[in-house]
Symmetry: C2
Subunit: 220 residues, 2 copies
């Protein structure tokens, strides 16, 4: 696999660059230096230059970076130059909320359909998106050229649903269930563990003052 040699750490920062560049573009800013951007984003200029240079030279000495160009290039790296078709597995309130998020469609992520086991939900339209029965999933994925599956089912069902979409050819999974999925190497999983995130917040907020600070093994 040429799954690339660029570190996960760098990749994970790209969407944030992209976000700031989009804002600059909207504001009509034409060019920006790594120094200016670093101030805006609260990171070092060095890191910005290092990060970008992983993908080739996007800037120009003495000038900086062209906002529009850099925005487009990062967009390409992020795979936003082609549209993506999604299905959402699980038409609960989280799945429905995701279906209704306008940010996704604006960036070329089209939600084509939802799936649920609940017969009451099947056939309904949520935010304009139809809920289908799982039995239709295989065909739906092929017909609609789906490349991303969103897992928004209860954690008990998550693994079996993931196995299912995998079987139907999906290789990218956006997992919102509160469990880790066991997937083969060639499947990309991006987790959004909401409860984990909330616990991190709670942890930081508490500040673990109860920590003793000294050595632990003060045995006799």
């Amino acid at each position: 696999m040429d799954k690339s040699d660029i570190s996960k750490t760098v990749i994970s920062r790209l969407p944030r660059y992209f976000r700031y560049l989009g804002d600059l573009k909207d504001k009509g800013t034409e060019r920006i230096s790594s120094g200016e951007l670093s101030q805006l984003m609260n990171v070092t200029a060095s890191q910005i230059r290092q990060d970008l240079n992983n993908f080739g030279g996007f800037g120009q000495q003495g000038y900086g970076y062209n906002v529009d160009y850099l925005y487009t290039e990062i967009g390409k790296i992020l795979g936003l130059d082609k549209p993506h078709n999604l299905i959402i597995c699980g038409a609960g309130s989280l799945g429905t909320a995701l279906a209704g998020n306008p940010d996704f469609i604006n960036r070329g992520f089209k939600i084509k359909g939802m799936f649920d086991v609940d017969p009451v939900k099947i056939g309904k339209f949520l935010h304009g998106i139809e809920v289908h029965a799982n039995s239709e999933m295989d065909e739906f994925i092929k017909e609609n050229d789906i490349d991303i599956a969103v897992i928004a089912v209860p954690k008990e069902a998550a693994q079996s649903v993931a196995d299912r979409v995998l079987e139907y050819g999906i290789r990218a999974v956006w997992n919102f269930s509160n469990t880790d999925l066991d997937m083969p190497e060639n499947v990309i999983v991006e987790n959004v563990h909401l409860l984990d995130s909330l616990m991190r917040l709670s942890c930081d907020a508490v500040g673990y003052k109860n920590k003793s600070k000294g050595k632990a093994n003060g045995k006799g």
Copy 2:
């Protein structure tokens, strides 16, 4: 501030430990060694021991770790030994989905109220939680001992809502809006940038095959 000296990296791994320990506990497992846990979680045993030892010695040589005890201790570090009261700012579909998530309440995160600017929504109950007007926010926060505010409003409104809850005494913010918040040092912000996450997935899925691999400065 004794905001602690434990690295963010370590903290961010704690919820995952907690999750696995919870599962082990539910399965009735009494003890586990770092080696066994490392296999389960797909990390090194060394990392587990290093991580845990930041907080003191939770294990016992020749025995391993007592699942129940470790679970409880990590829970304390995460601040789960005390209940937390939340408000959700923004009664849109995302805010509503969060209000209805049973995982949160199960871990002691109680959603006390929602807030919205839309008069149509005010007074309604969503998943049993009342939507209030923003004008009631100040008093509500004090009366209900709120310690966490969830920002689930459109990105244009995010900063002003965050400023507002800050003014009313909140020091922990769970930000779901697709923008970074500008907050003072003593306020904890945990971001859930869904679009960023989706872009990371898309990026990994694409695999940036377009990368040239050789040196970039092949100038003449």
